[in-house]
């Protein structure tokens, strides 16, 4: 049993926009690349070119279909990584203290030198956000790029998680969700950001922005502008055309037919 800090100075986390995520997996692979080379053991791959390739990823994109009662089915891309919960059950379940939540920024990390690879934390996490690395035998998880966000060897603009830096659609945002004035908190307020599975009581720091209403064009009850026909056939069109051209600046015509013999 490992203790959580009573409070954290900041609540660093991600805001993920499900209205914008196109499901391209850019975040998945940039995360794999950075975290293979950086914090802790490399993210290994078993049977990498074989029948059952299986590697460690700290971030994955799942896709879900939604079938509304009326209208077309929808597809939602859902990136998922550790949500850096305030009441993180993966920390409290850890028998060695390897899993911990940082007091200064709320990031949940694994101290790999204390991890015995028992896997209890992965069982405790209701989100399935932790993955055991089979080469190293230690538990891996999103570090929120703790080795980037304060890294003085990086230009200031790059001190953000790689998944945020790389996201082509700009669907991922990083910041302090404990500060109501931060850009991420404002975005959550504006767009009605939600917790993932709040009933679990984990108080996740990461937030998801829900997809906007879709498929409104042409549905009944929609107050879309309608086009008023001004023309019924090609003959009518020509009459309209001549009048419309007259209305253009300098448009008054001199003759509707020129003749040469």
């Amino acid at each position: 049993m490992t203790t959580l800090p009573e409070t954290t100075d900041k609540k660093l986390g991600l805001v993920i926009d499900l209205d914008t995520c196109v499901g391209c997996h850019a975040c998945v692979i940039s995360c794999k690349g950075w975290n293979t080379e950086n914090y802790g053991a490399p993210l290994s791959d078993q049977d990498a070119w074989g029948a059952s390739p299986s590697g460690t990823f700290l971030n994955r994109v799942h896709s879900y279909e939604i079938q509304p009662e009326a209208g077309a089915a929808q597809l939602v891309h859902f990136p998922k990584s550790c949500l850096h919960c305030e009441d993180a059950p993966c920390v409290t379940v850890c028998p060695t203290g390897a899993s911990y939540k940082r007091a200064e920024d709320g990031i949940v990390l694994v101290n790999e030198s204390h991890c015995i690879g028992c896997g209890l934390c992965a069982w405790a996490c209701p989100y399935g956000a932790r993955e055991m690395d089979h080469a190293e035998g230690v538990m891996k998880k999103c570090t929120l790029c703790v080795d980037r966000i304060y890294n003085e060897n990086l230009p200031e603009i790059d001190r953000e998680p790689v998944c945020v830096r790389t996201c082509p659609a700009g669907a991922r945002h990083f910041g302090d969700l404990g500060d109501p004035d931060s850009a991420v908190s404002q975005l959550v307020a504006e767009r009605g950001g939600v917790d993932l599975m709040p009933e679990q009581g984990t108080k996740p720091v990461n937030k998801y922005l829900p997809p906007r209403q879709k498929d409104e064009l042409g549905t009944t009850g929609m107050h879309a502008p309608r086009l008023d026909p001004v023309i019924e056939d090609a003959g009518g069109f020509l009459g309209w055309l001549d009048k419309a051209l007259d209305r253009l600046p300098g448009g008054a015509g001199s003759a509707s037919d020129s003749e040469t013999r």
Binding site: W49, G50, A51, S113, G253, S254
Partner: protein, 942 residues
Amino acid sequence: MTLQQPKLDTSPHVSDEIRKTTCYMCACRCGIDVHMKEGKVAYIEGNRDHPVNRGVLCAKGSAGIMQVNAPSRLRAPLKRVGPRGSGKFEEIGWDEALEIATSWLEPLRRDAPEKLAFFTGRDQSQSFTSFWAQNFGTPNYAAHGGFCSVNMAAAGIYTMGGAFWEFGQPDWEHTRLFMLFGVAEDHDSNPIKMGIGRLKARGAKVIGVNPIRSGYNAVADDWVGITPGTDGLFILALVHELLRAGKIDLDYLARYTNAPVLVNGDAGSPEYGLLMRDAAGKALVIDRATGDLAPFDQPGVRPDLHATHTAGGVTHRPVMHLLAERYLDAQYAPEAVAERCGVAPGKIRAIAAELARVAFEEEITLAREWTDFRGETHQSMTGRPVSFHAMRGISAHSNGFQTCRALHMLQILLGSVEVPGGFRFKPPYPKPSGIHPTPHCKVTPGKPLDGPHLGFVHGPDDLALREDGTPARIDKAFTWENPMSAHGLMHMVISNAHAGDPYRIDTLFMYMANMSWNSSMNTRGVMEMLTDKDESGEYVIPRIIYSDAYSSEMVAYADLVLPDTTYLERHDCISLLDRPICEADAAADAIRWPVVEPDRDVRGFQTVLIQLANKLRLPGFTNEDGRPKYTDYADYIVNHERKPGIGPLAGWRQGEAGPAHGRGAPNPAQLEQYIANGGFCVKHIPETCVYMKPWNMGYQAWAVETGLYDSPQPYLFDLYVEPLRRFQLAAEGHGERQPPDHLRAQIRATMDPLPVWYPPFEDSHVDAQEFPVHALTQRPMAMYHSWGTQNAWLRQIHGHNPLYLPTRLMQAHDLREGDWARVTSAHGTITVPVAHMAALNENTVWTWNAIGKRKGAWALSEDAPEATRGFLLNHLIHELLPPRGDGLRWANSDPITGQAAWFDLRVKIEKSAPPPESQPAFPPIDSAVGEAPGDLAWKVGK
């Protein structure tokens, strides 16, 4: 345990050095920062300064590190020692490899250069490879556009002097409504994602038109799950609605398009339907101010969309009349098209209304003074903030050319091309179709070809026919079967060469084109053609040279393999002469350079071509004293001049007053300058010239200064494409060059100068009752063709490809996720695993493209899911349509451009007992590179 927080080093060493080059994991060409540790690639991220991706990078780009270490990399030149297709090779040295190639090529060049067929796949060096082929003297050269998206390119260039693709972009900053048709993921992929993100961030709307609601369509605010092959009909219904409501931009149409140009109305004339011109050849309009005929570009003229011209009792009407007459017809009413398109009439109406509302009620005005080509100065630029993008989804049909034309017509009617908020060209476009080269095919043994192979035809006189009227090219490009085949027909090369039709060849030389697998229709047939022998026991296609970086399926079918480098080990130029990385606001080009040296005996293919050119002493590569001009590709990039002052790279040339971008003499330090600048060069267009480019004399002057062309080239958009009409006239019996009789009806019907829709050809060659389902492929965002499929990281995302079925078909065939189905077309049968997808057109099935692999290829183990559960739809598609009793075999292509009609495919579905693996299964080929290791933990730093 109590809280015991370890002390972390939050500022670890990131890398020893960053080397900036250009990505090549797809055709998008983003800038990348390659982080090096101890001389090895440690990490790849996007380059924030780069005009294409501005720091972001997709999954493919970040996985590039797994491409440099891929076990499938070829290691040395290979000489075939077993039967073709077996994969049995011996490694040889480069001297021997080049000697073999030269011994094959030299006699061909001397005696019959056309016996070399040189076709390149997905390279980005076509201005170089075509220059090589031209100097060799063969007419048989093209790249892969014919089986990719030539409809999009050709329709765009003929209609508006530029195409979507990577040659234009929506005005992401100003557009308020973005409509996307069936987009492939490999062109402009990061820019489109970035653009959609920007629209979403400010609440602008996206409409997606695609039978499959994945990717961009999944985030679209409105989805049109259209029936494949009916996009053109849907678009013409939108046009019908807009015309009926008078919601078209008359001022724009009158000034900038050929809508007011008069069309010869004399039905008895050999010029019937051609545009009326003055003695100087200028298209004629009627000046609304004077009522007189005037050349379209005469200063002060106000072209009249309404007035007609009568001469000799015949009335000649402007294009606008013909256009209105056609599309106001009730056959284009929403009710009339709804069932075929699978889109409700109310939805079509609502989309037309929304397009009109945004275009005309949310008009944008930018206060920027500019002067048009008639000499009129405007104080501002008017924008219609509606923009469109489309790619292979609408173009890979036999009606694709005209569908792309229809979409361009829609944009132009709305006045939304090259205006604020609309679609914008990127340099070197806009460029009128008339200043592109025409095709050249005149062969003289021992000499170069008489000009560039590929180009744009303007009538029957430009076709690539020999004196006896037979096709000059092995792929039959630019013939009556497909007159406007601007990119050639790579997909027909092997079958024509095998059939000896129009003639036999000796050596097939290909680069990065997986023709014995996912890049061919009728894959099994192609394998048989490549291995077929004649009565004397010789291969029907006598010699095959192939270059690739990886152990692809095609390697096994070569007699000589020239191993290429990976993209991080080579020089390349992403050139303004070819397919640059420009933005709508700037000209830009880029390089690749060896950020790591190869650890194998491989050479960049372009360097190998130069070494071959030097051995063959090809004229363009040899000085007058007989010495080679270039030692390698880097030398060529810097020192080659296409014409004085114009070379492959526009940046840091030697101008009169020091280094300049655009025109100038070669600069020996040019590549160093590019590397110092992050691998690219950007030259911005002045602010008053970034819109209205085809008509903006400020832009025209800038384009001349930059070397895009040699004199200003303002032009009108061609709603009515006159070259199409010239082919129709030939089919009606006019002119010297006449089509064969069996093609007359097809040419008359399809080569209509105004956009027209006709059903995909397959619909009339197969029984649509028996084969009621449309079958498509899509390209995943995280995988590109066969380039990345063996990538250790990406294959964990897309390691196999089920066939996705809509709810209706899953239920109708009693199928559940994980079941297998037999899928049959008129050509063949496959048996494959299925999965359910609800967000899908109810008559359409689809799968991911090119995930299926052959056993033995790509250094994958033989039980890899790509080989056991993966599959290709290619087995169901033939390059010819099935016979229909007229004694002819019709091409499965667009009849105008020859583009492979991949997406016309119709199938039937039956539930099947699970076979041991996807069918058809082919015997394994011997791996040219051995087997890959099992596990991977790639960390290069300490």
